[in-house]
């Protein structure tokens, strides 16, 4: 499938930018950023109606990124889409940059909809947008990417309850289900399962897919509900694309040094 090949290529470019920008920054969150590269590729290059040349276009479909720590994959994708020049990615986390360690909307980077970092807040904002779109009868969707560990925050479930209550079929939540968080496996730290049932019981239509497979992601988006909010449990591998660090949660919040960067970039070319 030609489209899939294109999206895989975009995901590879995004991963490359993530690695380069994290190395330049000397710190940041590599694992989750790499794990979400395919989701971001599908969203920005296939699913979402948006105009990089007009970031404040009122009828755009918005991505609310609730897990601010994967800012590098958002920035890499925005640059890849043409919101700003790729060179700026190397300013990540440096004094005066628009690419804050966690997205800060008041730093003026085009394409950033919401400041995020403190967890559990994105879905509520997405619910507000989706409610207004429903109110104004706008035919567009709002996407919200959450982490799995983040679902331990109670405010997520307040938002989930309200989306179910208002039957917001124009909202698509994506949970980055990589099963790990800083202190270890989610099921050891504070178990989330049965996760799909939890969302269903809050009135959501739940789909599961391999979040590192662009064709499965496309299929999932195509099967959203027209009556209920849709949740995609995207099973991803933290660090996906670099076999050496896949599923290794010590890479949650680490940046590659020069040598690691060269090795990781080499692996990207080899594996895809």
């Amino acid at each position: 499938m030609k489209e899939a090949l294109f999206l895989i290529k975009k995901a590879r470019e995004i991963r490359k930018s993530v690695i380069l920008s994290l190395n330049a920054a000397g710190s940041g969150h590599l694992g989750g950023s790499l794990g979400l590269a395919d989701v971001f590729s599908v969203l920005y290059f296939h699913e979402m109606k948006h105009k990089p040349e007009q970031p404040d276009w009122l009828d755009r479909e918005r991505l609310i990124l609730s897990i601010g720590h994967v800012a590098p994959v958002l920035y890499a994708t925005l640059a890849e889409s043409g919101y700003f020049d790729k060179e700026e990615l190397l300013t990540l986390r440096k004094l005066g940059t628009r690419l804050q360690g966690h997205p800060g909307r008041d730093h003026g980077l085009p394409g950033v909809e919401l400041s995020a970092g403190s967890l559990g807040q994105g879905l509520g904002v997405a619910v507000g947008i989706a409610l207004m779109d429903q109110h104004e009868k706008k035919d567009k969707r709002t996407f919200c990417i959450m982490g799995d560990g983040e679902l331990q925050e109670g405010s997520v479930w307040e938002a989930a309850m309200s989306a179910g209550h208002y039957k917001l079929h124009n909202i698509i939540g994506i949970v980055d289900r990589n099963n790990v968080q800083i202190d270890g496996k989610t099921e050891d730290v504070m178990s989330l399962e049965p996760l799909a049932d939890k969302w269903r019981s809050f009135g959501w239509h739940v789909l599961e897919c391999n979040g590192n497979d662009v064709e499965e992601l496309i299929q999932a988006f195509a099967h959203k509900s027209d009556e209920k909010p849709t949740l995609i449990l995207a099973h991803t591998k933290m660090g996906c694309g670099i076999p050496e660090i896949e599923n290794d949660y010590t890479w949650h919040g680490k940046a590659p040094n020069g040598e690691e960067m060269e090795r990781f970039l080499g692996m990207l070319v080899k594996n895809r």
Binding site: R62, D106, S115, G124, V125, A126, G128, D133, E136
Partner: protein
Amino acid sequence: MKQFEVRQRKDTRSGFGDALYELGKESDKVVALCADLTGSLKMDAFKKEFPDRFFQTGIAEANMIGMAAGMATAGLIPFTGTFANFSTGRVYDQIRQSVAYSEKNVKICASHSGLTLGEDGATHQVLEDIAMMRAMPNMTVINTCDYTQTFLATKAIANFNGPVYLRFGRPAVPDFSPQNFEIGKGVLLNEGNDVCIIATGHLVWEALQAAEQLEQKGYSAEVINIHTIKPLDEDIILKSAAKCRCVVTAEEHELNGGLGEAVASLLGRKLPLPLEMIGVNDSFGESGKPMELLEKYGLGASNILEATLRAVERRTA
């Protein structure tokens, strides 16, 4: 010399509800959210007239702030309504990150602030909210003193682009504010020469009472109502303080982090003068009738009067 007229007693929260209803008629961009306290916030009229622009969030304040941020993102002007405690302390991080740091045009409207909430007691009597909101970058903080001012402030913040914390109360109080309101501009209510009283919220009326009593002792007090605590109207304060040479502040809030500290900071930097501060001294509240509580915690007119006499004495010492 009095610069105001007293009208019938009314509660500040009705000023909010009535203005919100008018705003609803004026602009279809105005939407309202409430966390299960529609009647207490006097939002019923808006809800009834504009059911498709009123959103019940249930008892889920964090989500209410998030939803409001989303609605602002979609270009609307959301007003959230709940008690002051649940409007600030419970949702501080949501306001900080999703509203203030995200530059969302959300109006956080809070009733039942301070001790005058009364019988419900300390769990609901937030006395730290001004301090929290004042410390937050990008946040405008307004504490209104009567029905008219709350009505006018509610309308003014709809036309102001940026996050606002609007704080008002529960009981019916005398209504005396002038019919004009400007965000960030203090109001001169009584002209005088011997002491400058700077008051906000329900204590403005107490300050006016104190000024009257002070007159019988042969002193004249200037009374200035600071409704916008941030940004602070430095000019009106400095001008009056320079004339009177001593200052008293009065607020229904903790001394820590409130209006008094804002004025102290201003005077310390620009015009050091004797200063007395009326407020709650590092304590939670308790159950009781509003006026009983003001008295017990040293916030009544008699306490303000004593503070002015102390200030005058320090000035001449």
